[in-house]
Amino acid sequence: MVTIKGLYKKFGKQQVLSGLDLSISEGGIFAILGPNGSGKTTLIKSVLGMVIPDKGEISVLGKNIKKNSEYRHKIDYLPQIANFPSNLKVKELIKMIKDLRKPTHEDERLIELFKLTPFLDKKLGTLSGGTKQKVNLVLTFMFDSPIVILDEPTSGLDPISMLRLKDLIQAEKEKGKTILITSHIMSFVEEVSDEIVFILEGKIYFKGTISELKTKTDQPDFEHAIASILTENHA
């Protein structure tokens, strides 16, 4: 699905990715974890073509993404901070994104799911953070692409919406999609993900299931397993 070979990226003097190799197979939920500044967002943005790597090769669905924008038709992306043009109405934004990508009717179901109907005629500038995140989710999931990338999907969501999001992610997985998630909420990661990709200092430190991680670190639960990786490496 997504293959990354020898990815390097430097921001100024800071080497963020240093020879990262990763291969993600089709189907399943992959959580990308790592301490702050480990290169999670850079990795995701490189896959999306928003960050241009210094060296290395990324291919999505078997095609090199360099100087190509068409492959993004196959990716749905949920950005971390949702800040939309404040003068547009929710309805108009959805219409606009559909206009930019392709027509779909999925949005009606998602609007229903997140109870956004009363906000459709409101301007985006007047919405609360949580509502914006819901709009963001609608925009992401309405296209039904084979790859879904979610950057901190849970931020600002109330518990009910959180539940709905989990269901939604599971449902997408059932359809055979490949889903990449970054999150700081370990319980959420533990609950939804099939595999963990742990990045440390610009490289893949660990890739495998949660139980494999527990075995490797010799810790009884997921959170402690993560913590032990971090303390070991900083010690």
Binding site: L48, M50, S69, R72, Y77, N83, P85, M96, D99, L100
Partner: protein, 260 residues
Amino acid sequence: MLKILKYSFYDLMRSRWSYVYFAFYLLLGIVLLFLNNDLSKAVITLMNVIIILVPLIGTIFGVMYYYNNKEFTELLLAQPLKRSSIFLGQYLGVAISLSMSLILGLGLPFVFYGLFESSAIWDFSLLLITGTFLTLIFTALAFNIALSNENKIKGFGYAILLWLFLGVIYDGIFLMVLIGFEDYPLDKVSLIGTMLNPIDLSRTLILLKLDISALLGYTGAIFKQFFGTNYGLIVSFIALSLWVILPVLRMTITSKKKDF
């Protein structure tokens, strides 16, 4: 690109700032015409306004728009769209909506005043064309500054500096150079110096209309050819177009290489 253009234009047309800008020009036009009742004086005052204020508003607005829409731009970047079309679309959206505010804001009072029957229509059209060019140029420069500076404060600082430099400081240096080398033939130098600054260029274009009698007082042959014929007008317009094209080119190139 046209879709992006459509949406950013649509977004801006409903923003408070477009109205403020539009209202400002409308008010200026009305005050100049109906309180003053003197078309020639109005055109001269307008020229000063256009040469100084349009670049300032273009830069500030361009920089502001870029930074305010940064996250949304990132959302767009994740869509299957070309980078160049995203930035070109946004740039044109800003530049066109600013130009519209300018043209409509100033145009309406003049139309009601009876511009079409007046002999000042050419001077006035030239003013609006120049104003539009300046908007296109300075919005493009602003996008360049914003693209190259992640730091908002720095970006705003550079934008103001750029305006101050091209609007005032450049002419000061220019004057020093001309006086310092007054023993040498300077007409070529002075024309080239003008071409290198879009504000000076626009000013010269308007001088061609308003002050041609003074400009022809100078004896230099190149001056005479430049100001006495359509040559000056054509060269100025070509230079202005270059001033639009080059920053836009740089904008698309930088945007292609930039990380978001």
